[in-house]
C-alpha cells in the first residue's frame, strides 16, 4: 500500500459510500413521511404541536432532558416498555414528524417520556410539582429539582395566583409567599402534556403485532 492516490480514493469512497448508502438511502425512504389522513373523521395524524408546546420543546432541548430520558417505546417482545405502561404500542417513525427536533435519546436513567401525557397521573399540576420538587411526587427519584424555572414571590395580601403550585410539607413556600411557574416552565409543561402517541396508523399496525417467538428465546 504505497500509492498515495489509491489511499486517498479509498478513504474518500469509504465515507462517500456510507453517506450515500446509509443516510441518503434512509432519507429517501423516511425523509418525507406525510401525515396520515384518518378515513373516518378526516383528521390528520400526527397533529402538529401547538405553539406553546413547540416553545416547550426548545426548553426541553436547552435543559438537556435527553441526557436521562428517552422518547421511544420499544415494540412488544423487545424489552419491557409496554409492560411498564410507557405506551400502548411501540413508536413508529411517523409519530415523530410533528417535532422539529427529534430527541429519541439513548439513556434511561429516568423513565421514557414519549407517552408521558397519556399516563393516569399526568396533569400540568403533576409536572410542575415534578419539576419544582421531584421528591414531592416521586419519592426516591434522583431527578434534579428545577427551581430556577419557578419564582417565589410574596403574596403581599393579594389572593394566590391560580397558577401557584400546590405543595405541602417541607416543599411548601413560606407563609405569605407563593411559587409560580415562569413562562419557560409553562412552555415545558405544555410540551410534556403533548407527549402521547395514541393514534394507531393502519399502515404501520402490522408492525405493532408481537414479534414472532424466537427460537430458543426467553
Amino acid at each position: 500500500m504505497n500509492n498515495g492516490l489509491l489511499l486517498f480514493l479509498g478513504v474518500f469512497a469509504t465515507v462517500a459510500a456510507s453517506w450515500a448508502g446509509l443516510l441518503l438511502g434512509a432519507h429517501k425512504q423516511i425523509g418525507a413521511l406525510p401525515q396520515h389522513r384518518d378515513q373516518i373523521d378526516q383528521s390528520l395524524n400526527p397533529a402538529p404541536l401547538t405553539g406553546i408546546a413547540d416553545q416547550g420543546r426548545l426548553v426541553y432541548q436547552d435543559l438537556g432532558c435527553v441526557t436521562c430520558h428517552t422518547q421511544q417505546v420499544r415494540y412488544a417482545g423487545f424489552g419491557a416498555d409496554l409492560e411498564r405502561k410507557w405506551g400502548e404500542r411501540g413508536s413508529f417513525a411517523r409519530d415523530y414528524i410533528r417535532e422539529k427536533t427529534v430527541l429519541i435519546g439513548s439513556s434511561r436513567l429516568g423513565p421514557d417520556l414519549r407517552n408521558v401525557a397519556a399516563r393516569p397521573y399526568a396533569s400540568a399540576e403533576f409536572f410542575h410539582s415534578m419539576l419544582y420538587a421531584p421528591e414531592s411526587v416521586a419519592p426516591g427519584t434522583n431527578m434534579p429539582a428545577h427551581r430556577f424555572l419557578y419564582s417565589v414571590r410574596p403574596l403581599a395580601g393579594n389572593q394566590s395566583s391560580y397558577k401557584a403550585l400546590k405543595l405541602s410539607g417541607r416543599h411548601a413556600p413560606p407563609d405569605g409567599f407563593e411559587i409560580v411557574p415562569t413562562p419557560r416552565a409553562e412552555a415545558l409543561v405544555a410540551y410534556l402534556m403533548s407527549l402521547k402517541d395514541t393514534y394507531n396508523y393502519p399502515d404501520e399496525q402490522e408492525l405493532n403485532a408481537p414479534a414472532p417467538a424466537k427460537e430458543g428465546g426467553h
Partner: protein
C-alpha cells in the same frame, strides 16, 4: 516517492525540533481541557447519587453539565491531543519537518475559542441536545475553519513525504484527517442548518457519533499503536502483510455500523440490521489486529513491563479490544435488549475515546515529550502516580459502568420493579464511578504537573542530564517505512 528531495531527508532531531511548539501548544491546551472536563464530569456524576448537588444553579443542572463535560473531553481534550500527536507522527513518518508551524498556533487559538464558546453555550442554555452536536450553531463554522488549517497541515506533510513506503500509521492518520471534517459537516447540515425530518435526525446523529469514535479516535489510536509498538519493542509488527486488509475492512465496516445504535428504535429495520452485520464483520480485522499486536508482544513481556510507554500502550491495546468486544455485543439484539439505554451502552464510547485513544496518547507523550524538549521527566513519583491511577481508574469505571449497566438493564426489563428501586440500586454504582472518575482526575493532574515541568523552556534543570534512551534498532526499519 519524490526522489529529488530524498537527499534532504530530515533527521529525527530536526523533525522533533520543528514539531516542538505546535505539539506543546496543542497538548497543553488539551490537558487543560482534560482537567476542566474531568472536573465537570465528576460533578455531573456526583449529581446522579446526590441530586441536590449544584441543582439550584441553572448553568449546572445535570442536563447541561453532563453534555458540557462530554464536549469538553471530546472536542477540548480529544481533538487537541489528536492534533498534537497526529502532526508529530505525520512529520516523523513522512521524514520531513513540520513547516510554517506558526499557522498552527492560529488554528489552535480558533479551535480552543470555538470549544470555549461551545461549552459556554451549552451551560448557558443554547444546547441543541443532539449527542456530541450540542454546541451552538455558530461554533460549527469556527471549529471547521480551525480544523481546515490543521487538516491541511497533516495532509501537506503527508504529501511532501521523503519516504518510499507509506506505513500503517499513516493510512489511519491520513484517513482520519479526511473523515472528521466530512462527517462533521454532514452532521452540521443535516441536524442543525437544514434539519432532516422526523427520525432521520436520530439516524444522522447515530451515524455521526459512531463515526466520530470509529473513524477519528480509533484510527488515531491505532496509528499510535502501529508506530510505538515496533519502535519500543525493537521488532517489526508481526503479520504486517495483513495490516492493509485489516485497515480497509475495519474502516468500511465501521462506516456502515452506525445504525447498530438504533436497535429497536422507530427507524426502518434495515438500518440497525446493517449496523449489526457491519459490526459482526469487524471480527476479521479484530483477529488481524490481535495477530499484529499480540504477535509482536509475544516473548517480549519483560520489555512491556519495563517501559512506561509500553505499559500505557498495552493498556490502550486492551482498551481497544474491549471496545471492539462491546461494539460486537451491543449490536446483537438479544444483548442490546438488556444493555441499551443503560450505563453499559455508554461504556462503548468511553472505551473508544478514553481507554483506547487517551491511553495511547499518554503512551506516546511519554515517548515524544522528552525527545521534543531534550529533557528527562522531572518526577518519577508523579509518573508512577499517573500510571497507577490510570490503571485503577479504568478498572473501576469498566466495573462500574458494566456491572451497573447490566443490573440496570435487567431491572428495567422486569416490569414489576418500581423505577425508584432501580434508582436506589444504581446510586451505589454511581458512587463507584465517582470514585473512578476522581482517581483518573488525580492522575491527570500528576501528568499536567510533569508536563509543565518538561515543556517549560525557562526550567532548564533537566537539560544537564539528557539521556534519552535510544530505541532498539529495528531490523526491518526501511521496509516498514520507519524514518
Amino acid at each position: 516517492m519524490n526522489p529529488n528531495v530524498s537527499q534532504s531527508r530530515a533527521e529525527q532531531q530536526e523533525i522533533d525540533a520543528s514539531a516542538r511548539w505546535p505539539v506543546t501548544v496543542f497538548l497543553g491546551s488539551g490537558l487543560l481541557w482534560l482537567i476542566a472536563g474531568g472536573a465537570l464530569q465528576l460533578a455531573a456524576n456526583i449529581q446522579l447519587h446526590t441530586p441536590s448537588f449544584l441543582a439550584d444553579c441553572e448553568w449546572f443542572t445535570h442536563g447541561r453539565l453532563a453534555p458540557a463535560a462530554q464536549n469538553a473531553l471530546i472536542y477540548g481534550w480529544g481533538f487537541n491531543a489528536a492534533f498534537a500527536f497526529g502532526l508529530w507522527l505525520m512529520a516523523r513518518l513522512a521524514a520531513t519537518t513540520l513547516r510554517h508551524g506558526g499557522w498552527l498556533f492560529v488554528a489552535a487559538k480558533f479551535w480552543n475559542l470555538g470549544v470555549t464558546l461551545g461549552i459556554g453555550g451549552i451551560l448557558a442554555g443554547y444546547s441543541h441536545s443532539f449527542e456530541l452536536m450540542e454546541m451552538p450553531r455558530f461554533v460549527g463554522l469556527l471549529l471547521l475553519g480551525a480544523y481546515a488549517l490543521i487538516g491541511v497541515w497533516a495532509v501537506t506533510t503527508f504529501s511532501i513525504r521523503n519516504t518510499e513506503n507509506i506505513y500503517a500509521s499513516q493510512w489511519y492518520l491520513f484517513g482520519a484527517a479526511f473523515w472528521f471534517p466530512w462527517i462533521y459537516s454532514i452532521a452540521q447540515v443535516m441536524l442543525i442548518r437544514q434539519p432532516a425530518r422526523g427520525v432521520m435526525q436520530p439516524v444522522v446523529n447515530a451515524w455521526y457519533v459512531h463515526n466520530l469514535h470509529g473513524l477519528w479516535f480509533l484510527p488515531a489510536a491505532l496509528a499510535g499503536i502501529y508506530y510505538l509498538l515496533p519502535k519500543l519493542l525493537g521488532r517489526p509488527i508481526s503479520y504486517y502483510y495483513l495490516a492493509p486488509l485489516a485497515f480497509w475492512w475495519f474502516v468500511i465496516s465501521t462506516a456502515f455500523a452506525g445504525g447498530s445504535r438504533l436497535i429497536g428504535a422507530p427507524v426502518p429495520v434495515w438500518i440497525p440490521t446493517l449496523g449489526t452485520v457491519a459490526n459482526l464483520a469487524l471480527l476479521l480485522p479484530i483477529i488481524i489486529f490481535g495477530l499484529n499486536f499480540f504477535g509482536s508482544m509475544v516473548g517480549r513481556w519483560g520489555a512491556v513491563g519495563g517501559s512506561l510507554s509500553l505499559r500505557f500502550l498495552a493498556l490502550g491495546v486492551a482498551g481497544f479490544f474491549l471496545n471492539c468486544l462491546l461494539n460486537v455485543l451491543l449490536s446483537l439484539p438479544s444483548f442490546a435488549e438488556v444493555a441499551q439505554f443503560t450505563l453499559l451502552s455508554g461504556l462503548r464510547d468511553w472505551t473508544a475515546w478514553y481507554a483506547t485513544f487517551t491511553v495511547v496518547v499518554f503512551a506516546a507523550a511519554y515517548f515524544f515529550l522528552p525527545r521534543l524538549n531534550g529533557k528527562e521527566w522531572r518526577s518519577s513519583a508523579l509518573v508512577g502516580a499517573h500510571f497507577g491511577s490510570t490503571v485503577l481508574g479504568v478498572i473501576l469505571l469498566v466495573l462500574g459502568y458494566a456491572g451497573g449497566g447490566w443490573q440496570q438493564g435487567g431491572m428495567l426489563n422486569s416490569a414489576p420493579v418500581a423505577f425508584a428501586d432501580i434508582t436506589a440500586t444504581l446510586s451505589g454504582w454511581h458512587l463507584l464511578n465517582t470514585v473512578g472518575l476522581g482517581v483518573l482526575l488525580v492522575g491527570h493532574l500528576a501528568f499536567l504537573i510533569n508536563f509543565l515541568w518538561i515543556a517549560c523552556p525557562i526550567n532548564s534543570q533537566g537539560t544537564a542530564s539528557v539521556s534519552i534512551p535510544v530505541p532498539p534498532a529495528l531490523a526491518l526499519a526501511g521496509k516498514e517505512g520507519h524514518p
